[in-house]
C-alpha cells in the first residue's frame, strides 16, 4: 500500500472525508503513477535503448590555466550505419582490410562485424560507464 493511499484511508478514518470522496481520491491515485515510479520507468526505458555515446575529457594544464574540456556526443544510429556499411564491403576487400589492420596491430576482424551484434552491444552499453581519472586528466565514457 503506498503512502498516498494510506493517507486517504487515514483521512477517511478520521472523518475528514466521506467514503465517496475517499473513493474518488483513491481512483485518481490509481490512474496516475507516482513520480518516482514514472522516473524509474523512464530511466528503465531509456536505459534499455541508449541513443548517444558520450565522451567527456577534462585535462588540467600544469601552468594553472583553465582546463581543456572535450565533450563529444555521437548518435549510436551513426555507429549502426557504420557497421552496416562494413557488411556491404565485398569479401575480397574485407580480407585486405583485415590484413592491413593486422599489420598495424589492430586485431579486429571486419568479417565478424554484424549489425545484430551491435544492437545487442548497444543495449548493454546502457549499463556501462567508464571513468578514468589520472593526475591531470579525467575521462568519462557512457551511453545515454
Amino acid at each position: 500500500m503506498n503512502d498516498n493511499r494510506l493517507h486517504v484511508l487515514q483521512m477517511l478514518a478520521a472523518g475528514q472525508v466521506s467514503a465517496e470522496e475517499a473513493d474518488h481520491l483513491i481512483a485518481a491515485l490509481d490512474k496516475q503513477p507516482t513520480a518516482p515510479a514514472t522516473a524509474a520507468r523512464t530511466a528503465e526505458v531509456t536505459a534499455g535503448n541508449p541513443r548517444y555515446l558520450r565522451i567527456f575529457v577534462e585535462e588540467h594544464e600544469t601552468s594553472g590555466d583553465a582546463p581543456t574540456k572535450v565533450n563529444i556526443r555521437v548518435p549510436l544510429q551513426l555507429l549502426r550505419a557504420g557497421v552496416r556499411l562494413a557488411s556491404l564491403i565485398p569479401n575480397g576487400a574485407k580480407d585486405q582490410i583485415n590484413e592491413a589492420l593486422r599489420k598495424n596491430g589492430v586485431p579486429i576482424d571486419v568479417t565478424q562485424l554484424k549489425p545484430e551484434d551491435l544492437d545487442e552491444l548497444v543495449v548493454h552499453l546502457a549499463d556501462l560507464t567508464i571513468d578514468v581519472e589520472e593526475k591531470d586528466t579525467k575521462v568519462r565514457i557512457f551511453a545515454e
Binding site: 541513443r51 565533450n71 556526443r73 549502426r80 550505419a81
Partner: protein, 86 residues
Amino acid sequence: MIPCLAIVRVGGHHRRTIRLWLPLFLLWPLMLPFAAVLAVVGLVLAPAYGVTAADVLRTAWQLVSGWRGMHFEVDSPEGAFQVRFI
C-alpha cells in the same frame, strides 16, 4: 531524419565568439542530383557484390541521418570550438 541545421561556434575566452547557423535543409536539395547519380551507380553495382539494393539505400540513408544529434565541443584556454547537428 536527416540533420537540417548545423551550428558552429568558434571563439575563446578572450576573443570574440563567432556563431554560424548553417541551413543544411538548403544544402540537401543541391546534393540531390549527386545523390541520384550515386544511388543509380550503387543500385547497378550492388548485385555484382552480392548485396541487395535495399541494403545499399538503407545504409546510405542511415549514414546521412545518423549525423543528427552529433555534438562535438572542445574548450581550451586558447580557444573554443563547437559543432552541433540538429
